[in-house]
């Protein structure tokens, strides 16, 4: 099971990686949307596409919203599950992201259980129970 964590904060990437690795995922990281697209192209060529991407909204170079739009417009990537993980909490932003193609939405701050709950709602595999705090 492979996942991609996309956030310009290394601390946040570390937190999300720990959560996903605890659930049995092999996790790659990207610091912005463009790096994430580059990773998807490489992974596609190598046959190691992730099944899940956790996407921050506000990032330099390419933000998460533009990344999601680009993924949704790319036929070979339409199987990728996209979960927005962001501080953008306004209802309008949530609607925008879901309309652009995000499958789920998590608002920071979050608990590990919030991520697990969303993965279960999405029907994604979880190999191990998660206990304790993200740190």
């Amino acid at each position: 099971m492979r996942a991609l964590v996309i956030d310009d904060s290394r601390a946040m990437r570390r937190i999300l990686c720990r959560i996903l690795e605890g659930l049995g995922y092999e996790v790659a990281e990207a610091g912005d949307g463009q790096q994430a697209l580059d990773h998807l192209r490489s992974a596609g060529a190598a046959g190691t596409m992730p099944m899940l991407a956790l996407v921050d909204w506000n990032m330099p170079v390419m933000d998460g919203y533009t990344f999601i739009q680009t993924v949704r417009a790319t036929p070979e990537w339409r199987g990728l599950t996209l979960m927005m993980v962001t501080t953008e909490s306004e209802h309008g932003q949530v609607v925008r992201a879901l309309a652009a193609g995000a499958h789920e939405y998590v608002i920071k701050p979050f608990t590990p259980d919030a991520i697990v709950d969303k993965l279960q709602l999405l029907g994604l595999p979880i190999e191990a129970a998660l206990t304790g705090s993200p740190s």
């Binding site: 601390a11 990032m59 953008e88 909490s89 920071k108 701050p109 705090s133 740190s135």
Partner: protein
């Protein structure tokens, strides 16, 4: 549903900061984040700032003592304090102000845009946001160290 306010209140900041701390930093030290408006902004500090532009205009600043910044970074990264590099401390402070500022933005008239965070570390500096004046200041102590959150409004 989030209540839209004209400007954040002290209780709003308490709630946001407490939620952020408990989600990412709460359990390891066993220490609670304690509201304490008697704390002063430390002379030597790490200061994170995000600006909000649009339906509401202003900035949110987070000021931590160097010790508290290290403790917070250690908690976020899961790395012992003595193994942290300066960039990790700056990143941690930046993410914390991003989360607090983003949640403040969510309480305010929109639509607004949140800037990427900036972090300054040092002694004897002050952060000025053009055309913005002090609106709100809330102090906390955690592990005996000061944390000050300030909201500036344009």
């Amino acid at each position: 549903m989030t209540q839209i306010l004209e400007a954040p209140t002290a209780d709003d900041l308490l709630e946001v900061v407490a939620a952020t701390w408990s989600s990412f930093l709460g359990d390891e030290s066993g220490e609670l984040l304690r509201p304490d408006n008697s704390v002063e902004s430390p002379a030597e500090r790490a200061s994170g700032c995000v600006t909000i532009r649009g339906g509401w205009n202003g900035a949110v600043l987070l000021e931590l003592s160097p010790r508290l910044a290290r403790v917070a970074a250690s908690g976020l990264f899961g790395t012992p304090e003595d193994e942290l590099v300066p960039e990790e401390i700056g990143d941690a402070v930046g993410e914390l102000v991003n989360i607090v500022g983003g949640n403040v933005k969510g309480m305010l008239p929109g639509p607004s845009e949140l800037s990427l965070p900036s972090v300054t570390v040092g002694t004897g500096f002050s952060v000025h946001v053009p055309h913005a004046t002090a609106h709100l200041r809330v102090g906390f102590s955690w592990c005996g160290e000061p944390l000050v959150v300030r909201v500036l409004q344009s």
